[in-house]
Symmetry: C2
Subunit: 558 residues, 2 copies
């Protein structure tokens, strides 16, 4: 199988509407329209044509950017219509030739990003109060229907041509990879036997039956389609709490330098050690004091430290996941003053009701969730000079393992490291399981979380942090180097696959949500199928698609 | 890779204590002891030695049998100590050479059965009030520790030799495959960073740290080990509600004939159509009236119809799963009188407090759950002459799809088919997600379940059953044959792998439990890893284990 990721320039996740090739973003007061208009000849990689509004990673990068910008740049928008700008097709889903020529790792990473973007649509509807709805104006298949499923209201044309379908199982021998199965039974609560029939019926379901089975919310004749969708959008927009008169903030292109094995942003730097298979990520705390109110946040705009850090972390995670699959361990440090971080957290806490502050918090939440679901081992080092406080302490709580230096370093004048809890550790950043990282950490001892609330704002040194259960190991200066080095050497020597499965199993104890089901269960099954000869072998359905040849499946059931 | 399942006589799941080769079952009043004493030379298949109390499917079949018999044959037993009869080892887990030489399908099926048996231990503790505890009297690794994790109290020797460990990731590049990761964080609620360290530490954790981290419940010096475990067992047994003076019922060897493609028991028959890849299973309703009280149930013993059906269905499911992996679709019918089934259900309902009736209900529950998690498509046909009432209606509710003949058949004098709800459909047989099959079916319309309660005991014909949402399709005599035939042809033409992933995703909407996490998430990840070259390739860890050679992993993270 050709590798879609290597032998090419690195994928860049940074874009902006003026550069979109596949989406058209338009505005009509409180209603925005995001119309898919994929350029066939503008695939991210050579070797496939993006016919019938099918998508690849490049198309989804633009969608992701649009969803972000709608939140930050358009406080006046309360509803977003997702539709197609093509005449005869809504969306045919992920491009099959692209999947057929992709490596296993590329497919898995592609699905993860598309899943995160679909989840972001739902989060925008629920928490940014910018509600997505879908205007299905032509055949809506596979990933196309999964995109529709991620919106809160689906209006479909009632004609002979337009149907929703998930043809992956009958046609391609894989699963709908972007949450479709889960959203069918858990979000739309389609009866399981109907879902079974629907997912094995290539041509899908249309018209009244689609409504009756709960696959879409309404079907209307083509003549009234557009107006019905606009009407629904206006109704949904009328319910938002977003401030129509507020001014959005601009998200300018993210500045970064990519030189050899070093990636640098304003606050985040990352150095890749290829020999060891380790990326060392350092996040700098704020250099200046926090604004005093929400107006100050708006004035700072994209340079507001928490927003800038969210954007930079988001980008470095996406970059490493997509372009550096061989780097299996991420080591995270911070550098700076805990009191400044705490002051920013206080601002984010005290002005949580402000629309822009809310967006910044939600963006940090999403970025931390992206870290949680990354298939990389995450080790955090808490050293003198670090600032693991509040929002940045979440990085340590997200880690598979953390090391905190107990005491000072010989020959260094810095005081011993400490960590600090802020109010934001107790609810601002839930994981995909719906719990805070503290609650997930202390599933067996929920009282501990309450006790820790009382210690908000205190500096906890290594002994106190260990006693509080907030760090894993606390070697002193004498043991530090060897212990950390050995742990990293050991980690990078294990099978990456076993680590991925283990981490996915240990990170999310406790309750399950749509998101944990998608990332835990559905993705695992899909990854399994993406390894099976019936799907990806030389005679597998993904390879033979479009050739006219039929797969001859190994019939053994596993 | 050699196939462990084919070219051999079919695996037989029927056994009894007199024939055990690997376990010793002993009794001391209310406390039973189940001691593992694996015979190295008595593997189920040639090619590996069961050293260090390691196990294969044959060892686990005996464990499963023992757990069943303890429930039915020993009402006086309130606690069961699981331990090792060997001097220097508790259990080394699943045999690695066996895994190394097994096909993918065999490994997956083996893990499923061992998982079901571990879950049965937990169900026995919680619902049969026969509480399992574990006496760890030597190194307890991998599957050995996962067996311990399935008990409710773990007492471990405090010596230099005895530790618990999950060395799969560092040693074998696979996951602990029998619920270990899930039980660590979700049952024992071990802190996730500690779990991460533990699961990557080959030598495991012993002594006080094992208690402090919650990996075991107590450690005691070897001199007091036995007595401490007995003491705990007596305490647990004292809390049971099982009737110490009652007489158990004997489970005689299950009679079955296996002739060509036909398997027949007293009430269940199964005909395999290899050309179509379909197994046709027919369950006969009771031939005689139900006993009138619990004493009548005890007098009937193993021939009590619901118990006999549970045993037969259990055996046929296990047989088909293990010995007939190429048969991807199970078609289920019933034959008999609904009023008799209903009378048995009434007895099971009215005498639910009787220990034996409770056991029969729990066995039916487990068997239906085994059906739910089977990686086969399940189609149910409701035809004239059938008796889909109550307990047997659960089969239709467990199906991926059901067809009910609307009206009579030309040339047949039987009245039209009907189905009937009984009280047992509303709580007796929860699925692994903790919901009844009715509640799972109507996740989006919970009121429907309440409405259906009011229709208990009514005969619902095809139109009524369809309107009630209880069946999928209701063709009449003219369409029946074509519609069913086409559905089956289509189903058997799809990729078995895609169907497995799809069915696992659609069958269990709604809440998640330890069991759904094990069968949904953990198993899917394990199956994925069981496909990856780093584990199973010629240079994978499972293949190289014991050769002294080291795996050279592909370091790409997926």
């Amino acid at each position: 199988m050709a590798e879609t990721t290597s032998d090419s320039s690195p994928v860049d996740f940074r874009t902006e509407p003026a550069r979109y090739r596949h989406w058209k973003l338009s505005f009509d007061g409180p209603v925005a329209t995001l119309a898919m208009d994929v350029r066939e000849d503008a695939g991210l990689r050579p070797g496939y044509e993006l016919k019938l509004n099918s998508y690849d990673l490049g198309v989804d990068i633009e969608l992701y950017d649009a969803v972000q910008r709608l939140r930050f740049e358009h406080p006046e928008v309360g509803a977003v219509i997702v539709t197609s700008a093509k005449e005869r097709i809504f969306c045919a889903g992920a491009n099959i030739r692209m999947l057929g020529q992709s490596s296993h790792g590329w497919k898995v990473n592609f699905c993860k990003f598309t899943n995160e973007t679909r989840n972001a649509l739902e989060e925008a509807s629920a928490e940014s109060r910018q509600t997505y709805l879908c205007l299905v104006n032509g055949p809506c298949a596979g990933g196309g229907y999964e995109l529709a499923l991620a919106t809160e209201w689906i209006v479909m044309a009632d004609d002979g041509n337009t149907a929703v379908s998930l043809p992956e199982v009958p046609l391609l021998a894989v699963l709908p990879g972007t949450g479709g199965l889960t959203r069918l039974v858990d979000k739309r609560r389609v009866r399981r036997d109907r879902a079974d029939f629907f997912c094995t019926t290539e041509e899908g379901v249309k018209g009244k039956r689609a409504v009756e089975w709960g696959l879409v919310d309404e079907v209307v004749p083509r003549s009234r389609l557009e107006e019905t969708a606009r009407q629904r959008a206006r109704e949904l927009a009328a319910r938002t709490d977003r401030p129509r008169a507020a001014k959005g903030i601009v998200l300018p292109p993210l500045e970064r330098t990519l030189e050899g094995d070093r990636i640098a942003y304003a606050h985040v730097t990352c150095v890749i050690d290829r020999r060891r298979g380790v990326a060392e990520i350092t996040v700098a705390g704020p250099a200046t004091a926090a604004p005093t109110d929400a107006a100050g946040v708006a004035a700072a705009g994209a340079s507001f430290w928490p927003l800038a850090v969210a954007r930079e972390l988001d980008d470095v995670i996406l970059h490493l996941r997509t372009n550096e699959p061989q780097i299996g361990v991420w080591v995270v440090r911070t550098l700076g003053r805990a009191d400044l971080v705490e002051a920013y957290d206080r601002l984010l806490h005290d002005h949580a009701g402000d629309w822009l502050v809310r967006e910044v918090r939600l963006y940090l939440k999403r970025t931390l969730k992206r870290l949680d679901v990354s298939s990389r081992s995450i080790f955090v080092l808490v050293e003198p000079g670090s600032c693991f406080a509040g929002t940045l302490l979440e990085l340590a709580l997200a880690a598979d393992r953390s090391f905190m230096l107990d005491g000072t370093r010989t020959g260094q004048s810095l005081p011993p490291a400490s960590i600090r809890l802020t109010a934001l550790n107790f609810g601002a950043y839930p994981m995909i399981n719906g719990l805070t990282r503290l609650a997930s950490r202390f599933l067996g001892e929920p009282d501990r979380v309450d006790d820790l609330k009382g210690r908000t704002g205190q500096d906890l040194d290594a002994a106190a942090a260990a006693a509080a259960g907030l760090v894993t190991f606390t070697p002193d200066d004498i043991d530090w180097e060897d212990e950390v080095r050995l742990a990293l050497e050991e980690r990078t020597a294990f099978s990456p696959d076993a680590l991925t499965g283990m981490e996915a199993s240990l990170r999310f104890g406790g309750p399950e949500t749509l998101e944990t089901k998608i990332f835990g269960r559905l993705s695992a099954w899909q990854n399994w199928i993406f390894q099976r000869p019936n799907a990806v072998g030389p005679k597998g359905a993904l390879q033979l698609y479009g050739t006219g040849e039929r797969s001859d499946y190994d019939r053994g059931r596993a």
